[in-house]
């Protein structure tokens, strides 16, 4: 049986990656899928001194493609691969007035192998840490326009002083949602789903060892609607002379059958001599092909003690057809730093995401 399993897995990997298995594939039921999306937008930024338009890749959900395959190894064991990369020309999270054009590079997102059975699922390779996205649960239907990770749009811009000089305080540095350890090379275990609950744990490394834990929930409660939530914890071992990078937090989102939704997220991260905090509130309404929402975020002590960065936004998503969305966003960022007088930065974005 072991030989058969090994042969099936080998065929799966070779067939999926090279597309050459063809008639030689020995296993039953191997399924290979190729999918992706293009997500582009026009972004206007105004920092009180400069105003420019940018042609960007929407960092809320970047242009990417995915290749995944799955097959049974035994009646109780399935195996598969996930290969996903992104290709972002002028990422909206990175452009600014000094760097309006950024050449695309093929960046890794997921490159892993998984095994799944009644005991749960194990994944090995590059991919989500257990807690990745735990601060980003959102049922509003407007995530492609705006969500908790506010720095994905305009994160590379710096606030200007009253004299018009760049302050060194960027949006991404002062109001990050601190979403744990993102993706890295890891071993991940996911429990089976029990009444909507699922636990996850991962261990791997970047430059130092990283550990993530998460508890997730999603369920539908009749008249109450749909509820999704996640709690996460992550720790990245300290580099010499530093402190462990530890983050705890979560998010909860509720969608009422009327289309009204409410979302809240909070994270807290240990930084040298202070604790970086993030809070996010969102209220939305979805009806038919339309979804609209307003949000508010506040980041405290993230770049320096005493910092308080705020964001107010309104987003709209129109889904004229199942494979395309048109979205618009307006948001305003402000920043309070002791001893500094910094100008607000406003953004307007309009664009479309097309799944192919």
């Amino acid at each position: 049986m072991q030989k058969k399993s090994l042969a099936a897995l080998t065929a799966l990997a070779l067939g999926a990656m090279a597309g050459t298995a063809q008639a030689q594939a020995p296993a039953q039921g191997i399924e290979v899928k190729l999918s992706g999306q293009v997500n582009r937008a026009l972004l206007s930024a105004d920092d009180g001194v400069d105003q420019e338009w940018f042609n960007v890749d929407n960092g809320n959900s970047s242009t990417r493609f995915r290749f995944n395959a799955e097959a049974p190894i035994t009646p109780a064991l399935r195996a598969g691969i996930l290969f996903e990369v992104e290709y972002k020309s002028n990422p909206s999270s990175d452009v600014n007035f000094a760097t309006r054009s950024i050449s695309p590079e093929l960046d890794e997102r997921h490159m892993d192998v998984f095994f799944a059975g009644p005991w749960g699922r194990a994944r090995l390779g590059q991919g989500d840490g257990a807690a990745n996205g735990a601060s980003e649960v959102d049922l509003s239907g407007t995530s492609v326009a705006h969500y908790a990770s506010t720095g994905d749009i305009g994160g590379g811009f710096e606030y200007r002083t009253a004299a018009g000089a760049l302050s060194g305080a960027s949006i991404s540095g002062t109001i990050s949602n601190q979403d744990f350890e993102s993706r890295y090379d890891r071993l991940l275990y996911q429990t089976p789903v029990f009444s909507g609950f699922m636990g996850e744990a991962s261990w791997g490394h970047k430059d130092t060892d990283v550990t993530d834990l998460a508890l997730r929930y999603s369920g539908k409660i009749r008249e109450f609607g749909t509820l999704a939530a996640a709690l996460g914890w992550s720790s990245e071992d300290a580099a010499p002379g530093g402190i462990d990078d530890e983050t705890v937090g979560g998010s909860v989102s509720w969608l009422h059958p009327s289309g009204i939704s409410l979302t809240y997220a909070h994270t807290s991260r240990d930084l040298a001599g202070r604790t970086g905090k993030f809070d996010y509130f969102k209220a939305g309404y979805e009806v038919g092909k339309h979804a609209v929402s307003v949000d508010y975020a506040i980041g405290q002590d993230q770049a320096a003690s005493g910092d308080e960065a705020k964001m107010y936004g309104i987003g709209y998503v129109f889904t004229p057809i199942a494979w395309a969305e048109v979205f618009a966003l307006y948001k305003l960022h402000s920043m309070d730093r002791p001893g500094a007088d910094l100008d607000d930065i406003s953004f307007f974005m309009v664009g479309t995401r097309v799944k192919f």
Partner: protein, 58 residues
């Protein structure tokens, strides 16, 4: 905040039917412009294993 989320977890766990959560920041579920209803180009072993008829057997 943690207490709020825990309360939400506990309340939800009582009488809910599980649903799969799909992040709006990932590639959407559902149809694709080029791939139609399946939303992906799908290959399967049945395609790969088209029977090879032995012409000499006829």
């Amino acid at each position: 905040m943690r207490a709020l989320v825990l309360m939400a977890f506990l309340a939800a766990g009582c009488a809910a039917e599980p649903v799969a959560y799909h992040s709006g920041n990932e590639i959407p579920d559902g149809p694709g412009m080029l791939t139609g209803e399946k939303g992906a180009v799908v290959l399967n072993a049945d395609v790969w294993r088209e029977p090879r008829e032995d012409a000499t057997a006829k």
